[in-house]
Symmetry: C2
């Protein structure tokens, strides 16, 4: 690795050039241009293509060296692999510090010629003092600066930093986590990791003050010992969530052809990750649930849960999955029962934790009262609020009673500083359902919950699993701190 | 249990009376009236309420005995528990065969008085030769006859029969499974199971010719041995899927207050279910995935899977989860590679199973060719088609190229009689996303897949898990048949 700028500085370019910028909508050279314009890149943006002309209203330079700027910090290469060596010569002349190779079909093809070309590119870059991101990747999403690798990603920043070996995985992660209220410091997609790799990225995010939680998707590491040495201090500083791709035989073979990665033994991986305090998840959905938990819930270390809302079946499933994940559901306290007795004498001795809210239909007890009382209780660490959503309620009851009650209830809990976990389930809806008031109302309720900064999960299982890993992590941190 | 009509006959009434029919929209007595009218109940429908008058355009009789019909087969009771005993006297006079007690707050309250009342109701019903469904339940969904316990459930029939101890669970199950293309013979919600219970319902669905797959949600059984004796022959005839509620300590307590059920030890349950060939699932989502697998996929016993579509990250997660569920992902055959070599010489040696479809961008190979070739291959048992959905494709590319390609591809596989499993993932979308062309296009594609009668799952994990249980079941049946 050459001496040079820190990743933090490399990822904050004042000027960017897109090599192979193109007017063809479906091409990488067009897409990157569009992403940077749409996200309002804060620096100077240059497009390069021998055909020159204009793309999306911007002037196109025939060659990197013809850009009038004396230096270009960051180059995005969308040209074929064969042309990259000569591009690097031009980059040398323009004081380029970082080249992102969207360019692919190199070592991941498994062929000798392409593998050698990747080595040659790296060797030349090192001689010129240029760092390489990739090849075979989407590069940098850095919302504060207006750098993006996809359309429609959030423009606001937030506490999650990520490094992903898969571009599609990174884009879906950002997009779907954003719908749950998560925002990002930077997310880096690093593909074949020929130069900048998982160890350097982990170090970077561990020391980056704007990153409070680290999320990663890793297909292979070059040096397990080095990764472990980076992981240990990182995980003691902030949560490091790892999704390991290539756990299976077929997956390990695919890792070679996807990002030229040696997947390694999953048993070794799991032991290593557990030992050094990483949080291991099994798929992209769990990765999203986990960043929701870590960014929208406080550092909880207790495992006593009150579950409220939903009918009997949902309450039951909730009780089972929360307990199966190691949580306790304490009995309701005598004091709480006393309040219940005053308001709902017909129910006070019957209701238990989880609280089946459907029992209160037709009584003067509203969910909001229930939640306000709960928020004053001391005997629990987490409140889980299930949204009842399949009662055959008419539109006006849903919109005027149930939805506001739910929103007010969770707001009441939050106001008292108690951690609240919301569960709103939906089916996989079709076009007709998108037109129906009911599904729209559920989506609108979820949006309002997300806008309040509350953690919402799509099922009792996903909530219980993510919160269990959250509590495991903070309990581990607490025990580590006591040792020190 | 009195001698009398079979459940099949009891569930097919020629006449129904709703006791406690009400003009108040949010009441059970109103809802049931509305459900039966909306679903077009095929028999004679009578409403009963002392206030008489008219509800939803139907005449209301002040008392059951004042209905001019000489007999009423089926009574839905929406009146308070205290009034049920005298209702039963009237039912005796009207030759009522089955009383569904939507009426609740009986044994599930845990109180002596209510528990005794439930016993008294059952005793009186037996003397009168009347069967009881419930109390504390939603009753019968029987689409062919137009009986329903919720709004907007499908009116067409299908092969899934179900018995559910939770009404909300039953309704969500039917609604969400229906969005995935599943249809039902009958679904019965049986609540406290004071008379008609899990054993009788299992026997009934096992012998019902219109039911090919049985789905159940059970909080407790009265007699484990009896249930096992019913389960063994049922599971040899058709798949019996069981979701057990009350697996945890808190869940077991809740089972008492939800449906007055003794949950029993989960270890004993699991051993029993496994021994007698039931398929055990952990939550309502898995129950839905499982009926999708059993009704829309053939009786597969092989475990060789080809995975195609989606980018590298999705292919990787797919490889990992399918293999982790015990499937093999065989290498592509020499013959297949030969075809690839002719069409895409730049890729033929590089592509592998899972097939990362993003590699073919810009080549003359379309997904449809790939799938047509695959459908002629013999070396696999199941084809998994992942929909790529987060490429930054413009609207027209999505709608004119990607979506039709995906639809044509899976149709090509299906035409050759190969089992195909589709995976279409979505986030939990908000109101703004419901307006966007992209999410609408994904929902529309999914609808078309469902309309073609294909099995679609919301994630690689849910697909792999459900198909694994499907293969396990049919392999077990095959081994059982060989023993006989």
């Amino acid at each position: 690795m050459p001496e040079g700028f820190s990743l933090g500085r490399l990822f904050s370019p004042n000027s960017v050039a897109i090599i192979g910028a193109s007017p063809t909508p479906f091409s990488g050279g067009h897409q990157f241009t569009r992403f940077l314009i749409e996200h309002g890149f804060q620096g100077r943006l240059y497009l390069v293509n021998p055909t020159a002309g204009e793309i999306l209203g911007l002037k196109v330079y025939p060659r990197l060296t013809e850009i009038p700027d004396s230096s270009v910090d960051y180059v995005i290469s969308c040209i074929p692999a064969e042309s990259v060596l000569s591009l690097l010569d031009d980059c040398g002349k323009k004081n380029v510090k970082l080249v992102h190779l969207f360019t692919a079909r190199l070592k991941e093809t498994g062929r000798d010629k392409e593998t050698k070309l990747q080595s040659d590119i790296l060797e030349k870059a090192r001689k010129l003092g240029i760092r390489i991101l990739g090849p075979n990747c989407m590069g940098i999403y850095y919302p504060e600066l207006g750098l993006s690798f996809n359309y429609g990603l959030p423009r606001e920043s937030g506490p999650v930093g990520g490094f992903f070996q898969s571009g599609g995985g990174a884009a879906e992660f950002v997009r779907y986590a954003a719908l749950r209220g998560v925002r990002f410091s930077k997310v880096i997609n690093y593909g074949n990791a020929s130069d900048i790799d998982e160890v350097e990225l982990l170090d970077y995010f561990a020391s980056d003050d704007k990153t409070k939680v680290i999320a990663s998707y890793i297909e292979g590491v070059k040096d397990g010992g080095k990764f472990a040495r980076a992981l240990a201090p990182a995980a003691r500083k902030k949560p490091v969530i790892v999704l390991k791709g290539g756990r299976s035989r077929a997956g390990a073979k695919l890792a070679l052809s996807h990002t030229a990665s040696l997947a390694g033994s999953i048993d070794v991986w799991q032991a290593l990750l557990r030992q050094y305090g990483a949080i291991m998840v099994s798929n992209f959905q769990e990765l999203i649930d986990q960043v929701v938990a870590f960014t929208l819930l406080p550092p909880i270390t207790g495992r006593r849960v009150i579950v409220a809302g939903g009918g009997g079946g949902k309450s039951m499933v909730s009780a089972d999955v929360w307990e199966e994940e190691g949580f306790d559901l304490p009995e309701l306290t005598a004091e709480f029962r006393k309040k219940l007795k005053e308001k709902v004498p017909q129910l006070w001795d019957w209701v238990r934790n989880p609280i089946d809210a459907s029992l209160f239909q037709g009584t003067p007890l509203l969910d909001i009262n229930l939640m306000e009382w709960l928020s004053s209780e001391d005997g629990f660490d987490i409140c889980v609020a299930n949204l009842t959503q399949d009662d055959p309620l008419p539109n006006d009851v849903w919109e005027k009673v149930l939805a506001p009650n739910f929103l007010n209830s969770v707001a009441a809990i939050k106001k008292k500083g108690k951690p609240v976990v919301c569960v709103i389930e939906t089916g996989e809806i079709g076009p007709a359902e998108m037109e129906s008031w009911k599904w729209r109302a559920i989506a609108e309720t979820r949006r309002q919950i997300v806008d309040q900064g509350l953690a919402v999960f799509p099922s009792p299982e996903s909530a219980a699993k993510a919160v269990r890993r959250l509590v495991d992590y903070w309990a581990w941190r607490e025990s580590e701190d006591e040792l020190l």
